[in-house]
């Protein structure tokens, strides 16, 4: 077994991890490294499409305070407003910083960063949609990921590519390192560190239909959960309204930002009924529910479980004219603004969105909840927000909380870069002043034992069978709509699956080199932990708020539930729930209408 020593270590090389790495490595007096299970440019930040929100005002008047209000309203008033203010204020500066790093944003005729409309982003507290999403065609995430990785190369950041993190090492009440396996050789490594920042992304793979990559299995979140850190607001998981039917591949909200509309089987633009003011640009939770309700009432296309997203120029122009706007679009415009969307539809559906509407259905997309942190990305471990020294988290795996019960489109990318930057700075400062904690004896013993047990698992159930059972169960009972009976059955089911995982799993590959069979099994173990935490949190919250829609409790209940959920895993495996108040500064909760 190899042991390395770094002052600060970042796990995950998507947007948050790379931003943290750039900032931490600017501190010359410390040694920094990044560990990632994927080659960095394979990270899921690269799949983000439509834009990154910042009140630059390139195209029309905008203010970061309006962005903050929209974010709070979008969150159904569950976001911590002090954190939202930090994010929306710094968004402006960090987007310019990305541009200075070379990010090739689209441009306005004056040469400024181009901005487009996006769901829930409005002028002056909900008056009308505003152009706030800074974009590079429909591959903004790709450009952010590439740009940050390029800068990491320029700054000679030290990477351990294709290393799977297995465990977090704690010693004397603080972080002492991580355990990881070199996927190419199967060799287990111990990284002795003062500070660790998890930037390990989301866990959309808990659900059957998802926009998420195969890698999005929530490893970092599950690891810290097993080490006693609570998880916050796990019941809030966003379903993006527009995934390609049956496949879940994301179709950016930018399609609607450019003028696309949702259409039911009767040819009706049904969002006019659900969100009279901003219609198809309402928040994602609102639209996903509307689609489900249309389908439930028999107005899915041909009575089936999907609706159409229509961005044909004639449709868009008709609605622009109705809205009294002078702007008109054509094929060339759509080709230049949404090239990847056209490519996905042509490749996978054999249809051309310029000629035909796209069949879409909601797709599991984004974890609002996760590892609780403060605005410096320090992980906090109780309702009093006590930090765990040396432990940091940023990006989708973390819960600051800036997204509350529902994230606005573009704010994931804002979150990544703002809190990745803050986390990188904070961990560097901590690592510069802290001493190395002693490593416990045999720090990798538990991780090694688990790997060996899995490697030799010769029961009768394949990893894929268990994973699919979990994904079906989560889709059915912990999806867009929920109720107590169904969530109860999901909790029972996930515990059954866990028992099978522990006693009857089968792994084919006993080798060392690229043993993905073994690591798939290991990842499934993490996902089962997160599925249970999600379902237990969802059962507990007896109200409907944002992405958490309880049919047995259809109303938001601020008197009892204006608070964050914290779920703890006890050493014996039992889950316990606690709560933390929401931070409210400027915006008192009120009814949420779009």
């Amino acid at each position: 077994m190899k042991t390395h020593q770094f002052d600060a270590l970042i796990v995950g090389a998507g947007g948050a991890g790379l931003m943290a790495a750039l900032y931490a490595s600017q501190e010359q007096r410390i040694k920094v490294a990044v560990v990632s299970k994927l080659y960095p440019t394979r990270s899921h930040t690269g799949a983000a499409q439509g834009g990154i929100g910042a009140a630059l005002g390139s195209e029309e008047e905008d203010r970061w305070e309006w962005h903050a209000f929209d974010t709070v309203k979008g969150s159904d008033y569950l976001a911590d407003q002090d954190a939202v203010e930090v994010m929306c204020r710094e968004a402006v500066d960090v987007v310019l910083e990305l541009e200075h790093m070379g990010l090739p944003f689209d441009r306005t005729p004056e040469g400024k960063i181009a901005q487009r409309r996006f769901g829930g982003h409005t002028r002056n507290h909900g008056e009308k949609p505003v152009r706030r999403a800074c974009h590079a065609a429909d591959r903004t995430g790709h450009m952010i990921l590439q740009t940050l990785y390029q800068q990491c190369i320029k700054n000679q950041v030290h990477f351990f590519d294709e290393f799977q993190v297995l465990d977090l090492i704690l010693s004397e009440g603080r972080v002492a390192g991580i355990v990881a396996v070199d996927i190419a050789t199967g060799e287990v490594h111990v990284f002795h560190t003062k500070a660790v920042l998890f930037a390990t992304g989301g866990w959309g793979k808990l659900w059957q239909i998802t926009s998420n990559a195969h890698a999005c299995t929530g490893d970092g979140t599950a690891i810290v959960f097993r080490r006693g850190v609570p998880l916050e607001d796990m019941e809030f998981f966003q379903f993006h309204p527009t995934g390609i039917r049956g496949m879940g591949i994301l179709i950016t909200e930018g399609v609607r930002g450019e003028g696309g509309v949702l259409i039911n089987n009767e040819g009706e633009r049904f969002m006019e009924r659900y969100a009279p003011t901003i219609k198809d640009l309402a928040s994602r939770d609102v639209i996903s529910r509307a689609i489900y309700l249309e389908i439930r009432d028999g107005r899915g296309i041909d009575g089936k479980n999907y609706v159409y997203l229509d961005v044909r120029p004639e449709t868009v122009n008709k609605h622009l004219a109705e809205a009294g706007e002078t702007r008109r679009i054509d094929r060339a415009y759509i080709e230049s603004k949404l090239p990847d969307i056209l490519d996905f539809c042509r490749t996978y559906l054999g249809i051309d969105p310029v000629e035909e509407p796209m069949p879409i259905q909601p797709t599991a997309h984004y974890a609002m909840g996760g590892i609780p942190t403060n605005v410096d990305a320090e992980v906090v471990i109780d309702a009093q927000k006590t930090p765990l020294p040396g432990l940091y988290a940023a990006g989708e795996c973390a819960c600051v909380s800036v997204h509350g019960a529902n994230r606005l489109g573009t704010n994931s990318l804002v979150d990544l870069v703002v809190f990745g930057r803050r986390g990188g700075r904070a961990m560097a400062e901590y690592a510069r002043n802290a001493e190395f904690p002693p490593l416990p004896e045999n720090p990798a013993a538990e991780a090694l034992a688990e790997l060996e047990q899995l490697r030799n698992a010769d029961g009768g159930t394949r990893v894929a069978e268990l994973r699919e059972a979990m994904q079906d169960m989560m889709m059915t009972c912990v999806g867009v709509f929920r109720d107590a009976a169904c969530i109860d059955s999901a909790i029972e089911k996930v515990r059954e699956l866990r028992a099978i995982y522990d006693t009857d799993l089968h792994v084919d590959d006993q080798g060392k080199v690229f043993n993905q069979d073994l690591l798939d099994a290991w990842e499934l173990g993490r996902m089962l932990d997160l599925a249970e935490a999600t379902a237990v949190s969802a059962l507990c919250r007896e109200e409907s708020r944002g992405a958490h829609s309880r049919e047995d409790f259809p109303k938001r209940d601020d008197a009892n539930w204006l608070k964050h959920t914290l779920v703890f895993r006890k050493p014996d495996g039992r889950l316990e729930i606690d709560f933390r108040p929401v931070v409210i500064t400027n915006y008192q909760p009120k009814e949420r209408v779009y």
Binding site: Y39, P104, H142, T147, I153, H214, F344, T347, R462, F514
Partner: protein, 238 residues
């Protein structure tokens, strides 16, 4: 429909040399991806099959493979485009020119070493403006095509010049250099052109166009290489 999937297999812990294994897969839909078939084998027939993949829709660049003798992403190659009729064979093997580690996984390090050699990062050491660097839509359009690159290596490993001589930087690295050379905000074009005018730079390109055919992002790779050659000949970008 039924597909016979022929996969070039190699496990360094067991096998002295690679071999072909065949798997018969039933109930295949014409719109299934080759990645779906590989997953079927890996998940339900033989878990030891190794391949890289992540996003499964052509954005992360993990799963470039040689499918029916052409480099493609397994997640963008659909069965209906490879098999006609009710039954056919699809052949999948690792991309060529890089050392095979296990099954469809190759050693990507030489590829990324070439990538790093062309200064694939934005350079402008002037103090940044208060706002953004201004750039007209026309200036931005000048290098749009090459910003699409996902570093999948489909182009480089389809190039006969690269197969013949692995020291050639290859099309992907040139595409990455192009993205900065033609960016009006960048100031290091000359340094990149100097790297690419060397023996292992653009002149090893014989304009075979395999790279353009192979690119899953529809980048006009050969054209980008030609533009870099022209810039070298002219002594710089206009």
């Amino acid at each position: 429909m039924k597909v016979t999937l022929r996969i070039r297999r190699f496990n360094p812990e067991h096998d002295a040399r690679p071999y072909w294994a065949e798997y018969i897969i039933k109930d295949v839909a014409p719109t299934d991806r080759v990645l779906d078939l590989l997953h079927h084998v890996k998940w339900y027939i033989d878990g030891t099959l190794a391949l890289r993949r992540s996003c499964a829709h052509g954005i992360c660049g993990s799963d470039a493979m040689r499918i029916n003798n052409l480099n493609q992403l397994a997640c963008k190659a659909l069965v209906k485009d490879l098999v006609k009729g009710d039954h056919g064979t699809i052949q999948v093997e690792p991309i060529l020119g890089l050392r095979v580690i296990k099954d469809l996984i190759v050693d990507m390090e030489p590829f990324f070493e070439h990538y790093r050699s062309v200064m694939p990062f934005f350079v402008n050491d002037n103090p940044p403006p208060d706002g953004e660097f201004l750039q007209t839509p026309e200036q931005r359009a000048r290098f749009d095509d090459t910003t699409k690159c996902i570093l999948c290596a489909a182009c480089t490993t389809s190039c006969p010049s690269f197969w013949a001589n692995g020291t050639y930087v290859g099309p992907a690295a040139i595409v990455q250099a192009h993205r900065f050379i033609f960016d009006s905000r960048d100031t290091a074009a000359q340094e990149r052109l100097a790297v690419l005018s060397q023996e292992d730079g653009v002149w090893r390109c014989r304009t075979i166009f395999n790279c353009t055919t192979a690119c899953p992002r529809d980048i006009e790779v050969t054209k980008a290489i030609a533009e870099v050659k022209n810039a070298i000949n002219r002594g710089g970008v206009d």
